[in-house]
């Protein structure tokens, strides 16, 4: 099963390789990983999407917690959370498909951020499922390139995860 884990870490030298090395060294999957500093410049937040059964997920969370550089680990999977991802998509557009492309962009509330005679570059943010949706609709026109950020997540409600 797919799990989204948020990891608050010390923003220090080598911390990314400690986390990624833990996953590769123990044979855990990383589907996506995004990382950036938080409000406190001494800490960074990593959002990791991984897969595994309950036993593996328990090990992943425990092993992450065991790292000295890790401050907090939250598995959002069973919680009420919002996930958002950014994707940049370059699609081929022939004269006859340009209008259709724009219509799709409009339906998904995406944006065209670069135009050439043969391509549109589209920016879209949203839940990963929404991004998968627009990709399916654009695919027949010919997608030349796609860049996805991997999701970042935040819990619903008033409470925050410190940092």
């Amino acid at each position: 099963m797919k799990h989204t884990i948020s990891v608050l870490v010390e923003n220090e030298f080598g911390v990314l390789s400690r986390v990624s090395g833990l996953f590769s060294g123990r044979g855990f999957n990383i589907e996506s990983l995004s990382v950036a500093p938080t409000l406190d410049p001494d800490t960074s937040r990593m959002t990791i999407v991984t897969t595994g059964d309950d036993r593996i997920l328990e090990q992943i969370t425990k092993q992450l917690n065991k790292l000295i550089s890790t401050i907090k680990v939250v598995d959002f999977t069973a919680k009420d959370f919002i996930a958002r991802e950014l994707a940049l998509i370059k699609v081929s557009t022939e004269a006859e498909t340009r209008a259709e492309a724009l219509r799709i962009v409009d339906i998904f509330r995406a944006k065209v951020i670069d135009v050439t005679p043969k391509t549109y570059t589209i920016e879209i943010t949203g839940a990963p499922a929404k991004i998968n949706g627009i990709i399916e609709l654009l695919r027949p026109m010919g997608i030349k390139e796609i860049v996805r950020s991997g999701p970042v997540v935040i819990g619903r409600g008033a409470k925050g995860v410190a940092g």
Partner: protein, 565 residues
């Protein structure tokens, strides 16, 4: 007062109570060695950095203190890696200080540059590259704290040369503030109460104890628990000296080369109480049949050890000493129920005694050739109770675990998790440096001995009176045994060729060398070695194709032992 980086390092080591370090100099640590010249901290110069790490490791295993190593950058640092990985697998507290090229050169493939933090990340508990001298004192403080607390382990500090020579005010911090590191020491009282209830309900309970007992110094608490409930104790390789092996409740070692009664007890038990052990595959054999009739209680300070390989009915995270003390206290107030437990488990202990009698740990003795097991028994008989025994890795290591009846804590130092050949001699060196007055014996194979035999020179230089017993079969015996049993005797690359004259080798270093080739010479050689001051090497020409038995073939359940060849 302003101090240089290398002075700050040595001052900080002093504040941590370090009086002895093991190491090897080089360009990137020459400033540290210059300051060591006039420092009260003693230094032992090994002949290889790997040996320095094993020596520091054994210093830690035998004393409980943190072992300290200094090595230069590049090859010096990479030579420490096997030692660090050995310590990491066995959870040994250690701080390794490596020199590094100056910060402006890092990443340039400079002379003797190696990314030692990158290389050791998966085999250290934590590591540091100190780029700013203002971080140095705090880093040393943190390194020692991390190394010795929680589940102990090695910590590496990589110190660039320019940081060693720059200066700053020296202030040693009083305390450590690490928001990401707060080990749980106190066991949860409600969980412990549940454990007491499960014990009282058990009819076939077994204690399965590991190296954590030594690390937590919970030996007397373990003894109390076993004695007050009369529960039998199976020990892992790492815990052979954690529970007195001549005790009637001792089952001996369990696992691949475990005692018949230990493996049968674990297979048949209805309650398995795992304490400071981690269900290693060499212990469990086929995992799904390991203790399959039992409910499982698992006590460990490291949450990742729990439910890693097996499912657990009752996990207890905490320091073993604390948990066992609380458990003992809880059982003590239940006197009558404990009496009932003892009554109700009498049949179980009788069954176990039956297994002990049916297949005791034994071997076929010989009047002529030297049996390795006989040498081990004689070494036990003739050595002091508190003698410290180290081993290398292979058959001789297993025979030592099986036949040397350890009685005192921290007297058996062996590489369990990594299984590092070449560990024993430098380990003996480190233990002897820690305890100059005690007997220290390295029980070795002829293969392993040659992985760090250069340390004979170190023994001589510091006059460390280590006694070495080489069980010479002229084979890489343990691998040969596998080839005999599972590869139709195709002895591929396990015969060590022309015999080496180990007596002359010892003499070349100025040490005493003795040899026994017949059974009736064994006792005389051991007596003479023990009576001779200084380092002595004993070479025993043993029966060459002796096997370690019992043996659980790979992939089998631990009750499926091969008992005789």
């Amino acid at each position: 007062m302003k101090l240089t980086g290398s002075q700050i390092l040595l001052e900080s080591l002093g504040r941590e109570g370090v009086d002895l370090v093991f190491g090897y100099p080089g360009g990137a640590v020459i400033n540290i060695y210059d300051d060591l010249f006039s420092s009260p901290i003693e230094h032992i110069l090994t002949r290889h950095e790997q040996a320095a790490v094993h020596a520091a490791d054994a210093y830690a295993r035998s004393t409980g203190k943190v072992g300290v190593v200094i090595a230069t950058s590049g090859p010096g640092a990479t030579n420490t890696v096997t030692g660090i990985a050995t310590a990491y697998m066995d959870s040994i507290p250690m701080v390794v200080i490596t020199g590094q090229v100056p910060t402006p050169l890092i990443g340039n493939d400079a002379f003797q540059e190696a990314d030692i933090c990158g290389i050791t990340r998966p085999c250290t508990k934590h590591n540091y590259l100190v780029k700013d001298i203002r971080d140095l004192a705090r880093t040393v403080k943190e390194a020692f704290y991390i190394a010795r607390t929680g589940r102990p382990g090695p910590v590496l500090i990589d110190l660039p040369k320019d940081v060693q020579v720059s200066t700053c005010d020296f202030v040693y911090p009083d305390s450590v503030e690490l928001r990401g590191y707060k080990p749980t020491y106190a066991g949860n009282v409600r969980q412990i109460e549940k454990a007491a209830q499960m014990i009282l309900q058990a009819r076939r309970p077994v204690l399965y104890v590991g190296g954590g007992i030594n690390l937590s110094a919970a030996n007397s608490e373990l003894l109390t628990l076993a004695e007050q409930t009369r529960m039998p104790v199976a020990t892992t390789l790492m815990a052979m000296s954690a529970f007195p092996q001549q005790h009637p409740l001792a089952l001996g070692m369990l696992g691949m080369h475990g005692a018949y009664c230990a493996n049968m007890s674990v297979t048949e038990c209805d309650l398995l109480i795992a304490i400071g052990a981690r269900f290693d595959d060499r212990v469990t054999g086929r995992i799904d049949s390991f203790a399959e009739k039992a409910r499982v209680i698992h006590v460990d300070i490291d949450p990742t050890s729990i439910k890693k390989n097996v499912s657990v009915d009752l996990p207890i995270v905490g320091d073993l000493k604390d948990v066992l003390a609380k458990l003992n206290a809880s059982l003590t107030v239940k006197g009558a129920e404990v009496d009932e437990l003892i009554e109700a488990t009498t049949a179980w202990r009788e069954t176990i005694d039956g297994w002990k009698k049916k297949h005791p740990m034994t071997y076929r003795s010989s009047k002529s050739v030297i049996k390795p097991q006989f040498v081990i028994e004689k070494l036990r008989e003739l050595s002091a109770d508190d003698a410290i025994i180290t081993t290398e890795v292979g058959q001789h290591q297993m025979w030592t675990a099986q036949f040397f009846k350890f009685t005192q804590p921290r007297t058996f130092l062996t590489s369990g998790g990594l299984g590092t050949m070449g560990f024993g001699l430098p380990a003996a060196l480190g233990a002897q440096a820690a305890f100059p007055e005690r007997q220290v014996i390295d029980i070795s194979g002829d293969g392993s001995f040659q992985m760090n035999s250069q340390e004979l020179a170190t023994l001589m230089q510091y006059q460390l009176p280590v006694k070495i017993a080489i069980l010479n079969n002229n084979f890489l015996g343990m691998v040969r045994q596998w080839q005999q049993m599972f590869f139709e005797k195709r002895y591929s690359q396990t015969c060590l060729g022309l015999p080496i004259d180990f007596v002359k080798l010892a003499q070349a270093y100025g040490a005493t060398g003795l040899r026994a080739t017949r059974n009736d010479e064994v006792e005389g050689v051991i007596r003479e070695a023990f009576a001779t001051p200084g380092p002595v090497l004993m070479e025993f020409k043993i029966s060459r194709e002796e096997n370690v038995l019992p043996m659980v073939p790979a992939g089998k359940a631990i009750h499926e032992m091969v008992l005789a060849s």
